[in-house]
């Protein structure tokens, strides 16, 4: 839940752990996110073709990973946190019927172009291992809004 | 009761050592046994016991049948590859000492170059359906599938732990080949090598080079063992079995004892050594000639340590200079060993021990009285102390 209040910079300390986010990766979830990101590759919606190509099942697409990583961070930080970058490294596939669990922590505070930002480290684990890992840079208001 | 001095080796026999014998392994075995009996001044009909390696392809009854040995009252085989060599003599000595047999022949014969080559990958070893096959399942499929590779794993750790270099391995090869060069029966007669030759030879399984590995040989060797009493009536100086022992270590595997605290060690040889000194009443300092099993050079260094000639990791210093030469402190493998003379699974080393005690070796060490002979390393093994004690 994003809620309506945004965490202020003064409330954040390095090492703060983000609340975990669990996503039940149903086939519906894989397909609806693939189509919502306009990714029509068959491995994201057609299990028969995905299996013919050597995959166990349909699996999440990369644009969805980026979206979920962003959501994971703003669910915690609040609606007015400004997302400045999402850098992800891709690991094992996340197949339908798996559960994807995001965890993260505030790794450091940096100044970019005169703006104070926090770097959030994020990891998304599925039953097969780390599906996605990366960092998100956000700017937060100085006072609670 | 002790075995010390109860039995003696009264005869030795061998075929020529070649790369292609042109005849069956059974024929080689029979020639070697016949040669050993002739050497002992005995007839086939005198034999009532036979011992060989589990790995030998020639059944005792086949050899007996071919040579007209007749009835046998004792026959036995010893397992674990070259680790069996000295143990065949131990078996024979025990049979003689207990009266199970009067005259026992120990033999080993194979076409190891023109036939099945041990240095190649043996799928039969990998796929034997028994506990050894299960042991091998953790090694062969991973790619540790040749004897050289199994030794290389321990050798690499040895280099790391003790600061030795592959030149230290090479020094063993150089001394073996130096001795072979002056042994007319050696395959490498007249062909010594230098340390540079060793260092320039191609990799087999790093850190082992080609010249760290023994040769491949077609041939046969046989030994005649009888009681020390009876041996006195035979033509040659009786070569007494002053001690004979087998050894297997804690956590023992065949060539892949990789899970013990110390990888760069051969504790099974320490088990052998302790018994040899105890049985014979001798110690390592009494040894005049060492015939140490040398299928791969690193394990010669480890044997020197396990048998007490030097401390752990000190073999490289112990062998410096002329220690291992004929006039040195511990003459090593005067026949040239299995790197220089022939690879007969350690049995040619026992024959050399006999010649040294008799005083008839090609490279005779003057006054050799106590000769230590060891069997295959990396496997459950065995050893002998041979001597002339009147």
């Amino acid at each position: 839940m994003t809620g309506t209040s945004t965490v202020s910079a003064s409330q954040v300390s390095i090492g703060t752990e983000l609340p975990q986010l669990r996503i039940e990766v149903t086939p519906t979830f894989v397909i609806s996110t693939a189509l919502a990101t306009r990714d029509f590759q068959d491995v994201h919606h057609d299990r028969d073709l995905a299996q013919q190509r050597g995959s166990k099942d349909i699996f999440l697409n990369i644009l969805t990973d980026t979206g979920l990583v962003q959501r994971f961070v703003t669910d915690w930080a609040g609606p007015e946190a400004l997302v400045r970058s999402v850098n992800i490294r891709l690991g094992v596939p996340c197949y339908a019927h798996d559960t994807l669990t995001f965890s993260g922590r505030v790794a450091e505070r940096v100044e970019v172009d005169g703006e104070q930002r926090f770097v959030i480290e994020v990891s998304g684990q599925s039953s097969l291992g780390e599906h996605v890992a990366g960092t998100v840079q956000i700017a937060l208001p100085e006072v609670t809004t | 009761m002790t075995l010390a001095g109860k039995a003696a080796i009264a005869g030795i026999g061998a075929t020529e050592f070649s790369k292609d014998s042109g005849r069956s392994e059974l024929r080689l075995a029979c020639e070697a046994v016949r040669g050993a009996l002739d050497d002992a001044g005995l007839a086939p009909s005198d034999v009532d016991g036979m011992v060989t390696f589990t790995m030998d392809a020639n059944a005792e009854i086949a050899v007996a049948r071919e040579l007209g040995v007749g009835e046998l009252s004792f026959f036995s085989r010893v397992h674990y590859g070259g680790g069996a060599a000295a143990a065949t003599v131990q078996q024979a000595a025990m049979a003689v000492a207990t009266g199970a047999a009067d005259v026992v022949v120990a033999y080993r014969a194979f076409n190891e170059r023109s036939g099945q080559r041990f240095g190649q990958v043996s799928s039969a070893a990998a796929q034997q359906v028994n506990s050894s096959g299960v042991d091998n399942s953790f090694h062969y499929p991973a790619g540790i599938a040749t004897p050289a590779a199994t030794v290389a794993m321990a050798a690499q750790r040895y280099l790391y732990e003790y600061g030795a270099t592959t030149e230290d391995f090479g020094r063993v090869a150089v001394v073996d080949r130096k001795h072979a060069a002056t042994n007319p029966n050696a395959w490498f007669h007249g062909k010594p090598i230098s340390l540079d030759d060793h260092q320039a030879s191609r990799w087999i399984a790093e850190p082992l080079r080609l010249l760290d590995c023994c040769q491949e040989t077609d041939g046969g060797i046989a030994l005649v063992i009888t009681s020390a009493e009876r041996a006195k009536d035979l033509p040659h100086t009786p070569v007494q079995v002053a001690a004979a022992a087998q050894g297997s270590g804690t956590g023992q595997y065949v060539m892949t004892s990789y899970y013990r605290d110390e990888l760069a060690a051969l504790p099974e040889m320490s088990v052998v050594g302790r018994q040899l000194w105890e049985q014979s009443g001798l110690s390592h300092s009494d040894v005049d000639v060492a015939v140490l099993y040398d299928h791969f050079t690193p394990y010669v260094l480890l044997q020197l340590e396990e048998l007490g000639f030097c401390g752990r990791g000190e073999a490289k210093d112990f062998i410096a200079g002329d220690t291992l030469e004929l006039h040195g402190k511990l003459p090593l493998n005067p026949h040239g060993g299995q790197l220089g003379e022939a690879y007969l699974h350690g049995m040619n080393g026992i024959a050399e021990g006999v010649r040294q005690v008799r005083g008839s070796a090609a490279n005779q060490v003057p006054g050799a009285r106590n000769v230590l002979v060891t069997a295959g390393t990396g496997v459950p093994t065995s050893g002998l102390v041979l001597g002339d004690y009147g």
Binding site: T2, T33, L35, A36, T37, F40, R53, G54, K56, L63, T64, D65, T66, G67, L68, Q70, R71, D75, P79, E80, V83, S85, V86, N87, I88, L90, L128, G129, P141, T145 | G119, V121, S123, Q128, V129, S131, G133, V134, D135, N136, S137, F138, P141, A142, G143, I144, A145, T146, A149, M153, Q156, R157, Y160, W203, I204, A205, E206, T256, Y258, L263
Partner: protein, 335 residues
């Protein structure tokens, strides 16, 4: 390990990469639609993102944005080619993929996506995208096979203003074990097991000596098939290789196993040069690894330069799937 690449092939790939890179960025390609609330709504519904700045006009108006904005992570969505879309003819990623296909590197896997958002977009704005080839690195030996890492940079523009950028990296590879590069997909796709990656080795390990499996060791080989390095446990004592009797001596005890994390260091190793070994390509490295859990386990150390291997080097488990029955435990250098 795959065979050594013909240096001519590598040279050709780099030559083409230089030519494509020299062509600069593709002509900006406009999105099908302007930034719009319908697609935003579809996206946030699917993602489960209920941030009101994307969907609640009232909240958004009073927020730092002063009105509705699109999720930054949608930047790329606006310019996706869509269901019947085709790559632009001047798209350098497409050209580079074609060049690598031609050279036999037929499989592709994305490895990194790095997006930077210079500002939020509002409904009604129309973005276009331009992509250029940033670089081609290789050939590299990877667990998937030998291949090239291809990096592209995409800029999203509103008019002349760059509003977002992406660096995107893919590995374009020749599946391990395929000599001619015509194998297409690398059999089963690699996946992460609990102790390490499981990679297809149906080609590279053809003819491998198969393990003799007993009732005491069956659990170990069942584990490798699912990416688990299972270490037998008797009470608190771990033991490898496994066996039927408690090292503590109890004949009543029964074992279970732990699944190793798959991390360890090289305790010793061999670089095997001769003779040939079935299922291996010369030379190859075999490492005896001391696991963090404290036991030693043997396996091939794949994709390692023999000259770089040393005792103490950190490695991690990888599983070589030979076929349905057999998956071999192995190692790769931990980087």
């Amino acid at each position: 390990m795959t065979g050594t690449m013909d240096s001519d092939i590598a040279a050709t790939v780099h030559e083409k990469a230089e030519r494509i890179a020299a062509g600069g960025g593709s002509k900006p390609r406009p999105a099908r639609d302007p930034v719009n609330t319908a697609m935003i709504n579809n996206w946030v519904e699917a993602m489960g993102d209920d941030n009101p700045v994307y969907t609640d006009p009232e909240f958004a108006a009073s927020s730092v944005h002063g009105g509705l904005v699109a999720p930054p992570a949608m930047a790329q969505v606006w310019t996706m080619n869509g269901l019947h879309g085709q790559r632009a003819e001047d798209d350098p990623l497409g050209a580079m993929m074609a060049a690598l296909d031609e050279a036999g590197f037929t499989s592709v896997v994305a490895t990194n996506s790095e997006q930077t958002y210079h500002r939020y977009l509002s409904p009604g704005e129309h973005v276009s995208a331009s992509t250029e080839l940033d670089g081609v690195v290789g050939p590299k030996r990877t667990a998937l096979g030998e291949g090239f890492f291809v990096t592209t940079r995409t800029s999203w523009l509103v008019g002349d203003e760059v509003v977002a950028e992406m660096t995107f990296k893919v590995l374009k590879f020749r599946p391990a074990g395929s000599d001619d590069g015509t194998a297409g997909d690398a059999g089963a796709a690699p996946w992460q097991g609990p102790s390490g990656r499981v990679v297809d080795a149906s080609e590279r390990a053809a003819g491998v000596l198969r393990p003799v499996i007993s009732a005491d060791t069956e659990f170990f080989w069942a584990g490798t098939r699912v990416g688990e390095l299972r270490i037998q446990r008797w009470g608190d004592t771990l033991r490898h290789p496994p066996g039927p009797v408690d090292p503590g001596g109890s004949m009543e005890a029964t074992p279970d196993y732990v699944v190793a994390a798959g991390h360890g260091t090289v305790y010793s190793y061999v670089v095997h040069h001769n003779p040939p070994v079935p299922g291996k390509q010369l030379p190859f490295v075999v490492a005896l690894v001391e696991l963090d859990e404290g036991v030693r386990v043997l396996g091939e150390l794949i994709d390692a330069d023999p000259g770089e291997v040393s005792i103490g080097m950190p490695v991690r488990a990888v599983f070589l799937r030979v076929d349905e029955e057999l998956t071999l435990p192995a190692w790769e250098v931990a980087r």
